[in-house]
Every structure is written in C-alpha cells, then in structure tokens.
C-alpha cells in the first residue's frame, strides 16, 4: 500500500513539473532572450550565457518604444475611465430600477457580447474615417469603449445588485438625496467591482491588435505597444533580442494587474453590513 502511494506521488510530481515547464516556458524564454546578448546573433542556448541590458536600452531609446508605451497608457486610461463611468451608471439603472424594457436591455447587453468584433473592422474603419479620426488615439479610445462596455455593464450589474437595498434606504431615511446616496453609499461599496472591471478594460485596451493596426495605419508616432512591436522587424532582420525585450515590457503591466485582481473580487466588503 505504501509502495503504491509513493509511486503515485512520484507520477504526480512529474506531471506537475511537466505542467510548470510547459506553462512557464514561453515567459521564461521571452525574459531570458531579452537579457541575453547572444539572442540576436543566434548563439542562444537554453540558459542565458551573456547578460546584457543592451536590448532594453535600444528598445527604449533608439527604438522609440517609450512613445508607444505612453500612447498605450493614454488610450488605456481614457478607455478605463470613460467605460467605468458609463457602465456604472447603466449598471445602477438595470440593477436598481424597475422600468419598461429593462429585461430587453439586459438581453441586448448579453447578446451584444457575442458579436465578433473582428467582423466590425470594416464599418468601424469607415465610421472613424468619416469622423476624421483615423491615425488618432481618440478614434481608438472610442472603438475600445465598444469592446469593454457590454462586459463592464454586465459585471458591475452584479456588484450593484449585491449591495443591500437596506443600506440605500437607511441613507434616504437619514435625509440623503439620490445623488448623495449614490456618492456616499453605493459608490464606495461597488468600488471593488469597479476595480475589477477597470482591470478588464485596461487589458483589452493594452493588448488589442487588429483595430490599432487598422485605425492607426500610417501614423507610427501614435502606435500603441501591441503594434509598435512590429517596428522591430525588418529594420534588422531577425533581431529577436529587442523584440523580446519590448515584449517583456508589454507583458509586465498585464501580469501585475492579473495578480492584483486574483482573489480580490469577492473579499466580502459588504458581508458585515447587514445582519440577519
């Protein structure tokens, strides 16, 4: 019996090791190539041999990646802020009010998430062009709002509905207006939900590729990080060191946000607010 459990544990350990290797290898390879002086000349082996920061230096100075980072940060900031505000207002409406067509609107928000946005590149390109916003970050922010809004409304609706109505009523009894109640009661309590949706919108805006490529087309100074990476190809053929350095820089903020959100979504902020 003991023998069997030992061999079982060994098999499990081997499986875990294999899984960890497969899961982490691309990230490891990206980071190790970015620090390896041999990556661009083709002499790289599994373990980095010659440590260097030259790839990062090149990417951030000559490569002009700083501009792409700034552009992406600007686009992500406005996408997150605007979609957060708009989605919160809509979520309050569908979670807290009973009105005609309420169910219809909920169904629409749900189905609209199924629309393949890739299929909307052509009409959105024409629309942004008609608005004279091609090659500008404003056009990109407008399009990203369409990406993040349906999911943000759906998610925030759950967070708003989870706030006990009694807390709102208590505020009214204390003489608060609706606006005051919204600011002082509802807003602080849905803050974790707002953080979660903001992280989602950030990741969407930070990673998006096809619309950035289409709408920013010729304006290389307005490129976001996802399409800015392409700039490192062709200049020096197969210059993988800088590409991997830039990829690492892009990936870090996303990983940080993933870690931040993990497990913090349901930390029971309102759990103690209402007692049976």
């Amino acid at each position: 019996m003991r023998h069997r459990s030992l061999s079982r544990r060994l098999v499990k350990a081997a499986l875990v090791a294999l899984l960890l290797a497969f899961t982490l290898f691309p990230a490891y390879w990206m980071i190790s190539s970015s620090f390896d002086a041999q990556a661009s000349s083709g002499g790289q082996s599994l373990l980095p041999q010659e440590f260097t920061l030259a790839n990062y230096q090149y990417v951030l100075t000559e490569g002009g990646f700083g501009t792409f980072l700034r552009n992406s940060a600007v686009v992500a900031f406005f996408t997150v802020t605007i979609s957060g505000i708009v989605a919160l207002l809509a979520a309050v409406a569908v979670a807290r009010f009973r009105f005609k067509f309420r169910t219809g609107i909920l169904i629409m928000v749900l189905t609209v998430q199924m629309v393949p946005l890739e299929a909307l590149v052509i009409p959105l390109f024409v629309q942004v062009r008609d608005l004279q916003l091609l090659n500008s970050l404003v056009g990109l922010v407008i399009v990203y709002l369409a990406f993040s809004l349906p999911f943000a409304i759906w998610m925030l609706r759950g967070f708003v509905a989870a706030v006990p109505v009694e807390l709102e009523e208590a505020a009214y009894i204390d003489g608060a207006s609706w606006g005051r109640m919204f600011r002082s009661v509802l807003l602080p309590l849905v803050a974790p939900g707002l953080v979660a949706t903001s992280v989602f919108s950030f990741i969407v805006a930070w990673n998006e590729f096809i619309f950035a490529m289409t709408l920013l087309g010729g304006a290389a100074e307005n490129y976001t990080v996802a399409i800015g990476l392409k700039q490192f190809f062709g200049v020096h053929a197969n210059d993988w060191g800088p590409v991997m350095a830039a990829s690492t820089i892009i990936t870090i903020p996303v990983m940080v946000f993933f870690v931040l959100v993990q497990g913090k979504l349901s930390n029971g902020l309102v759990a103690g607010a209402v007692k049976g």
Partner: protein, 326 residues
C-alpha cells in the same frame, strides 16, 4: 433594521421622499423625474452601444450588398450589386478547399485540445495540496496573462527558421540536417497556432473547471469509490454530470474565440495574406478589405463569419437552457 423595509429593489416611485411635503405639482415633477432617471442613467451606454456595435453590425451587412471600394469610400456614393459578393464568396474554390477547412478544422482541434488539457490540469490541481495548488495556479495565471501579441511573437521566435530553439535543438540532436521552415507548410503552421492558442486558452478552462470541481460533493465521490468505481468512471458518472453547465460555458466561449482567431495567425510569417494556404475567414476578410480595397467583398466574408458564430451560439445557448429545465 425593520423588517417592513425589506422590499425587493427600490422602485423610485415608492422611495421615501421627505422633501416632497405633499405639494401636488412638485410631487408630480418628482415622479416624472423618477421615471426618467433609469433612462438618463442608461443613455450614455445605450448611445455608445448603438453607435459602435449595432449600427456597424447593420452596416457590415449593407456594405456586403455593395461594390464598396476605395472610390466609394472617398466619394460616399453607393453602388448596390445585390448578392454578387456572396455569389463570389461561395463560388470561390478556395473557400471550400482552404478557408473553411482552416477555420472549422482548426476550431474543432483547438477547442477539443484546450478543453481536454484544461480539464486534466484542473483535475490535477484539485488533487494537490493547497501550497502546490497555489504554485501551479500562479504559473497558470502567468500563461493566461501573456498578451496574445507577445505570446505569438515568442512562439514565432521559438520556431524561427534561422535561429529558433526548435530547429537548433533538432539539429544539435542530429535529428535534422538543415533548418526546417515550420511556417510554409499549412499543417505545421496551424500546429504552431494551436500550440499558441492552447497555451493561452487552457488557463481559463482550468480555473473555471477547478472552481466547479471543488463544488462537487465529496460524499458522492467517496461512495462511488467504495462501490468500486475507478477514477475514470467516477469522472464520467459523477463529476461530469454535476458540472456539465460549466463545461457548456467553457466550450461555447472557446469555440467563439477559436473561430475568430486573428492576431495569432496574421502575425505569423506568411499569415498576413502572402501565404494563401493558411487563410481563415477572419484573415481572408481583412486581407481582401484592407489589402485589396474590396470592402464589399470583405464585408460579405465578415457576415458569413458572424452568421456562423451566431448559429453556434444559438445551438449552445439552447442546449444550455434545455439542460437547466430538466
């Protein structure tokens, strides 16, 4: 807190209004205000969704009925040609020999691999101690967080024809004499795409299925074990039926994602239209529109993609609802 106040979500009309004071005109104004409030709150979202999703959705269909090229975009004139674009799409032999097989075949392989692998990872994680579950969970998160664009570049780099790790290793082991270009053959090309998609997509499956697994009653599994059911039998007889809705959701979402892969193909060498053997519906539509300026034809392909996705969504949603009723 009094029990009497415990009502379902507040209706604005019934909300306590200390300031209303019983004066009829003001009260009426407050009432209409209360009726308008949800719509005022919804207005910005509805305007944005209508302008950025619903209208473009209608428009992609309108474009697909037109000869819509660069001239039409600039002049704003329309030239309707009925269903000619669709006739051309369906009459194109590459749709049947290349594009649809690539799109549907790839989706089937990718969804099956992602869901099976993700489920196996979830089962492994469920059997680990809390410490190791956290370790594996964090590693899975790293794979999940990797942006699609950078992940794709890393896989291209690994399989790079000149200096890639795979070619170098195979040559070093003496298994290969000269470098092999993995990107020119459609099968190896899509093999790399599948590796990329599975690596990026299995974390969602694993984490979601794990959450479901942890909710399966332990007593049922133990009872089955006592009755002599092996692990495979236990999974298919107890675990799977209990968390079937979780699987439905995971399969629907993976199918929708894998049907419309774009960046992972477009960024690969030859994937942006120069190698027509590797086109899928999304890339074909994009290449025809923005490469050839044939926006009407591209729109027809986009409509085809949308309709296919809608059919899949409808089938799955129906099975989902059917299961819940039973």
């Amino acid at each position: 807190m009094t029990v009497g106040l415990k009502q379902p979500p507040v209706d604005e009309g019934r909300k306590p209004q200390p300031s209303a004071g019983g004066r009829p005109p003001k009260r009426r104004r407050l009432l209409t205000m209360a009726k308008a409030r949800p719509w005022l709150l919804l207005a910005p979202a509805l305007i944005l969704l209508a302008g950025l999703l619903l209208w473009p959705l209608a428009r992609v269909f309108i474009f697909s009925l037109q000869d819509y090229g660069l001239r039409q975009i600039v002049s704003g004139k329309t030239k309707f040609i009925g269903l000619d674009n669709y006739a051309e799409v369906f009459g194109d032999s590459s749709l049947w020999t290349v594009v649809l097989p690539n799109t549907i075949g790839f989706a089937i392989v990718a969804v099956a691999s992602t869901v099976i692998f993700g489920t196996l990872v979830a089962l492994l994680m469920a059997s680990l101690s809390p410490l190791w579950r956290t370790v594996v969970g964090s590693a899975v998160m790293v794979a999940w967080a990797m942006p699609a664009v950078t992940g794709t570049y890393v896989w291209i780099w690994i399989f790079d024809a000149d200096q890639g790790l795979v070619n170098a290793t195979l040559k070093g082991l003496g298994l290969m004499d000269e470098s092999f270009n993995w990107f020119t053959n459609p099968v190896t090309f899509y093999g790399i795409v599948a590796l990329n998609i599975v690596h990026h997509g299995f974390p969602f499956v694993a984490i979601t299925v794990l959450a479901g697994l942890l909710g399966v009653p332990k007593e049922m599994l133990e009872a089955a074990e006592m009755d002599g059911a092996g692990p495979i039998r236990r999974f298919f007889q107890i675990t799977y039926p209990t968390i079937k809705p979780v699987f439905s959701v995971v399969v629907i979402l993976s199918t929708i994602w894998d049907f419309k892969v774009f960046a992972q193909i477009y960024l690969m060498p030859g994937g942006s239209g120069s190698n027509r053997e590797v086109l899928n519906l999304g890339v074909w539509s994009y290449v025809e529109s923005f490469g050839q300026n044939r926006y009407g034809f591209g729109a027809a392909i986009a409509v085809l993609l949308t309709v296919l996705l809608l059919i899949i969504t409808a089938i799955y949603v129906r099975t989902l609802f059917k299961e819940e009723k039973v």
